[in-house]
Each structure stands twice: as C-alpha cells, then as structure tokens.
Subunit: 414 residues, 2 copies
C-alpha cells in the first residue's frame, strides 16, 4: 500500500472507529495486548534483523533503545493493558448550557480523527502510540524510523491481529511502509487526511514540521531546560536538584542543559556544584563556562552555541547573571519552552520567575526531570508539547481529542 | 514603524502586559471605552475619509459595514465595557495535583502572548479584538483591511490614549500600518514573535494561512453549512428552520448554503420549501438543484461547484439523497466543518448524524444561525474556528489563552 492509499483507508475507517463504545475499545486493547505476547517469537525474530543491520552503524545507546527481549515485549503488553484501564477520554460532557428558550448546547469531547505520528527508532513507541490513539477513538498512521522497521511491522501485525479478533477493522492502526524522508513530507502535507500530526524526534524533524507542515501539528520534545540558582537559594537543595536534573538521565528532553547562577552566590556555589558533578558523580559532567564562571572554576570556555544546544549528554553550560531579571531574560531568549526552574527560598522571586517564564512547566525548588505524563498524573504520555496551541507539556489522552458542540432544539430559530 | 519593528515591540511588552492584575486590565478597558467616546469626532472624520474613498469601488453592503456614526461608536464603547465585566480568563487554577511525595503540580491558564489578527474592513472588529486580547493578558497586533485603515487608526489611537491614562503601555495594542499583502505574509511567518495568528476573512485569506503560515494559526469563519431534511422530519419545523438559516442574514458564516433532502420526503417537501423561500420571502432565494431535485421543482441546474461554494447570498444549493448515510457522506465531503444540522423526529437518526458529522457545531431541529459566541453563552466572540486543534466553534476569551504547569517542591528529585 502506498502512503497515499493508506491515508485514504485511514480516513475511510474514521467513522467506524469513532463510533466504537468504550467497552469495545477496551476489549480490543486487551486483545491487542494478548496478541502482542502471543507473537513474541515473531517480534523477536524481526527485532534481531533490525539489530544486526544497525550494529556498527549506530551507537551502543541506540542499539540498546532498539533491542527487544521477552521482558520488554511483556512490558509493552502491560502498557496496553494499563491504557485500557485509563478513564475514557470520550464520554465526558465538558459543559452544557440550556438557554432560556430551551435550546440545549452541549460541548462534548470527540476524537481528532486520523492522528499521524512520526517517531524515532524505539519499538515500544509503536505499541504505546497505537494504544493511546485507539483508546481515544482515533485512527493512527505510524511512521517510525527505518532502523526499527522490521520490529514495528511485526508489532503492528500483532496489534492488527488483536483488532481483527475483536471484530474491529484492522485499519484502525496503520504503519507506513515507506521509511524515506518522502513519506514524512507526505504526512506533513496531507491536508484533509491527517487531522493531527505529532512529530516525536530531534530538532531536525521538529523544524522540518514547523517549516513544511500544512496539517495541524504539535511540536514535541525539544528541551533546552534551564535551572536558575537564585541569590536566595538553599545551596544543599540546589546541588541535589541539579545533580538529578543533569545526570539521572541526560538523554531525555527534561534533563537540564543550562545552569544559570546569580552573581552574588556564584563564588560559593560554583565550586560546590563542580565537585558534585565531577568528583562525586558516576559520570563526570563537562562544564562549559561563560566568562564570569570561568574566573571562579575551571572548565571549557563556552561558545555562544552552547547556550542553544540540547546536549542530551553529560555536558552542562553555565552562565552567571547579575540578577534575576537578567536570568529570566537569558532563559526567555534561549529556552525551548519545555521545562525551566528556579532554586530560591525567596517567595517573591519564585513568583516573578513563575509569572515571567513562558514554558510548559515552570519549577520552583524541584528537578525538571518530573515533566512527564506519568509523573504529572496523566497515566500515560503521547509526547511533551513545547507549543502553546492546543496542548502544552505532557500530552495524555485528552490532548489527542477535540470537542464539538451539539445543539438540540425543537424548531428553534434565531 | 515597520511591521518587523512593531513585532519586536509587541514581544518586548508581553511580560509587562501579562503581569497586569485583573483590576488593572479592567480599569484600562473602561478607560479605553471612555476614550473611544471622547474621540468620536476624530473617528468620524477618519471614517468619512475611508467611506468617500470606498464609494463606487465596493458594494453598498460593504459601505454599510464600513460606515460609522455616533451610535455605532457608542456601541463599540459599550462592547468594551461588556468585555470588562466578563469573568477573568486568567485567574482559574485549571487543576492541581499534589503527589504523595508532596510535589505540587498546578495547571494554570496564561495568555498566549502576542496575538495577531488579520481581518476585513469592519471598523468595530478593531475595538472588539483589541479589547478581548487585552482582557486575556495578550498583546495584539491588528492588521485590518485597507478600506477601513483611517478608521482603524483613529480607533487604535483612542484606545492607546485610554491605555496611557491607565498607566499601561500603549504598545499592548498595535495596528500594522502596511496594509499590503506583504504585511499579512510577514505576520504568518513571524516565528518567535507571533504566538497565535487568527485570520478572520474570506476563503482566500484562510487558505493563504493554511498554505503559508509558520506561526500557530486558527482558521476561522468559512461556513458551507448544510441542513439535512430527514425522511422523518416534521415539515413545518423544517420550513421554519431553513427559512431562518438561509434568509435571516445570508452574508454571515453560519447561514445555510446547502439543503440535503431524503428522497422519500422530497416530493412533498421541496414544493413547500420552494414556495416559502420564493413567494413568501422578502428576498427571493435562487435554488440550484441537483438532477433529482430538478425533476420535482423548477430552478437553476446546480453545477458541481455549487456544492462547494459559500454563497453568502440568497442562493441555496439543493441535493436529494437516497438515505441518511448518503446525506452524511455528502456533508462529510463538502462541509467546511462549521455548522451542519439534521431535521428529524427520529431519535436514532439524530444520534447517528450527531456522531458522524465532524463539524464544530452539529444541530438537531434548530437553525445553524445560533453558532455564535454570544448565543452559545460565551459572552463574546473572537471568531468561529473551523479547525479541531485548540479551539473549535465560537472562540471566547479562554480560547485565546493557553496554560502552563507550575511545579513547586522543596528539593524534590526524581
């Protein structure tokens, strides 16, 4: 099937998917989970093909992301079962307004329709995204990375088997077989077919979408996250939080990339944090220091681009500012709008920071690593939006739905 | 000031506008209303210039839209006072989640930032849009039609005077002075400056935005609205509703453009509706009939394009379908997703229609003319969104805000 044919099919089955009851959707999810486990062997064979092709071409971290085993497949199935247990995002009557003339106006939540997702090479994203889209009554068109294509195909084939066993059209879940850049562009410009496009990937993919997408799109995942250590910071808290934000999992989008320090505390604080991130850390963190910081501690001199880079690595850019206003100014100019925080015991400064930092999540005295659907209590996550339109921050089930108004009268005219 | 300079200024004052308290914003709105009335004379002189330039070039309807008088200016001021009285869209704590570890996660509503609006030549849109943006803590960049430019400039100058008297930066409200197509394109591509673009205008403007916009954009206002008369319709209700939907104000986006009729009721219904829309109507409605309809009543044979045209005039395209499924199929293929309705006494058919029609407002036994912020109880309107992302249907104050998460801890790490 070409990508265009797949889009036609996806559009055609929208109405049969959006009319499934909550029970029908949840039963099908359970069948999908079972089918995934039943097909463990096929999936592992396909995954082995992907892994052996990728070896030598990509980093060990990438290989580990790509690799499946029995436990990971079980984990994917459990993930689908957890989605089945989540509250239905479609039943809610968001609001109801009955006018004096008796006309009833209900606002109800409904699926987006066809949700397209362009993502990288982690096989579990395939089952996660498919489950979340299906749970919310959407038809999904998945376009994964070529490195994980065989795995994704085996996973989708198992999921489709689960759908068919439940009497649901297998075309509720679709995997694009063309993994060239062309198919990504096709999805970005499929006006009238794709109701929502979610690109999950690096800076290149996101900016390609901003530049080229003609369909509604939600940018996700690029995180140049800042933590500002205020003059009134509790240094112990600051050290603990920054070590966690920088080193607990540097490859993810909510990891810290930039440390901003108030001048009046820099002399005392910078040597302490340097020691913690280098001598007391399992992985030594490289510090890229601005002019003022490098006069206080040793490190690599920072270039301008270091303050606009998502390192996703054991690297931290450090900047000293003369006050909180300058810190906010720097963060506003360089943040990607994902997660930024302040460490301070001064309530007023915390309030100013929260008010003026225009990011999806603004932190006071806590690690930016919490920005995550699960941690925020959404029960799941479809990506982390860094835009302001429609969804901001971690996206759960309701963020891939929309609403409509149902107006019921008895011959009412205006 | 060039458009680019204006965008720089708008971005620079965002933080001072978003930190105004509710009282400061409402007081400034009242001062803006007063200043508008105080400047009645200036505004009327400017308006006279616009009107005399436009005469002979545009239709009488357009001239009437353009024309201001003392009463209309008073109405605009009253409109601003009404906006001041609306509930604050910014104070709400949308939700709060306190984790077991004590970390508090609050979801709060915040302004979008800079809202750009491209609109037509109605002068009142200038004050309406400025007031709604300001009330919701947004900085606005207005780009009106060139026919109303002098009026818009006089209005904005009065509004700025009101802002200044209240000690608020006059750059909270900005009017683009370049009314060429170039400035519209500049707004569409002002990534990093425009947080939300709302085009309010005809099909050409909307599709230019879909094609070219790189900033977040909400499509508004194109309405090819359908009413389907089911086999089980109450003919009296149908006649009353369609006459209202087609003739009460044909120039607006929620007016009906297409009538779809079930074959089994067409013989009886079409002659009745024809009489009502032609003999019993102040303005005779031209009927553009498909093959089956033209065998029952007289009228103009419909071309294919008649089912994809927003007439905004006393013209109605008529199609006969063999059943409700074919009716839904036709509407799904030709609707702009604005407002579509069914006339039926059959509950099941009403439910199917409501479930399957993917439009902002779906009607049962009522006129599509109700799709309007005021009628829907929002208290105001920033346009009617025909997209599914972010806002759908009539947009009020909360639709021009976004949200962010505020995460407060005490040294919390993950």
């Amino acid at each position: 099937m070409t990508t265009q044919e797949m889009l036609e099919v996806a559009k055609a089955v929208k109405s049969s998917v959006c009319t499934l009851t909550e029970k029908e959707r949840n039963d099908a999810l359970l069948a999908m989970a079972k089918s995934l486990e039943d097909n463990t062997e096929n999936i592992l064979i396909a995954n082995e093909m992907d892994v052996s092709k990728a070896k030598g071409k990509v980093s060990d971290v990438m290989i580990d992301r790509l690799l499946l085993n029995e436990d990971r497949i079980k984990g994917m199935a459990e993930g689908i079962r957890a989605v089945a247990k989540l509250p239905d995002p479609l039943t809610s009557e968001i609001s109801r307004f009955t006018r004096e003339d008796g006309l009833s106006i209900r606002k109800i939540s409904v699926p987006m329709g066809v949700v397209a997702i362009i993502y990288e090479s982690r096989p579990n994203v395939t089952s996660d995204a498919a489950a979340l889209c299906f749970k919310s009554g959407n038809v999904c068109v998945l376009r994964g990375g070529k490195e994980a294509f065989a795995s994704a195909q085996a996973i989708v084939s198992a999921l489709k088997e689960g759908l068919k066993k439940s009497g649901v059209t297998e075309y509720a879940i679709n995997l694009v077989t063309d993994t060239s850049r062309e198919s990504a562009n096709q999805l970005m410009t499929a006006t009238g077919y794709v109701d929502l496009l979610i690109p999950r990937g690096g800076k290149g993919l996101i900016s390609a979408c901003v530049e080229n997408a003609k369909v509604p799109c939600i940018q996700t995942g690029t995180g140049i996250c800042h933590i500002y250590v205020d003059k009134y910071a509790d240094i112990k808290k600051a050290v603990k939080i920054i070590k966690n934000a920088k080193t607990s999992r540097p490859s993810v989008c909510n990891a810290q990339e930039v440390l901003v320090v108030h001048r009046d505390i820099a002399q005392e604080f910078l040597p302490v944090i340097k020691k913690e991130l280098q001598e007391n850390s399992e992985h030594k963190v490289e510090l890229r220091l601005d002019k003022e910081a490098i006069e206080i501690i040793d490190g690599t001199p920072a270039g301008e681009e270091d303050f606009d880079t998502e390192f996703l690595d054991y690297i931290l850019a450090v900047k000293v500012t003369e006050d909180i206003s300058k810190a906010i100014e720097h963060i506003s100019a360089h943040s990607t709008g994902h997660s930024d925080g302040i460490i301070t015991e001064n309530k007023e400064n915390a309030e100013i920071f929260v008010k003026l930092i225009d990011s999806a999540a603004v932190y006071v005295n806590a690690s930016t690593r919490f920005t995550d659907g699960g941690e925020f209590g959404l029960g799941c996550e479809m990506g982390i939006s860094t835009q302001k339109l429609h969804a901001r921050g971690p996206m759960g089930l309701s963020e891939i739905t929309t609403y409509k108004y149902v107006v019921e009268g008895n011959g009412h005219i205006r």
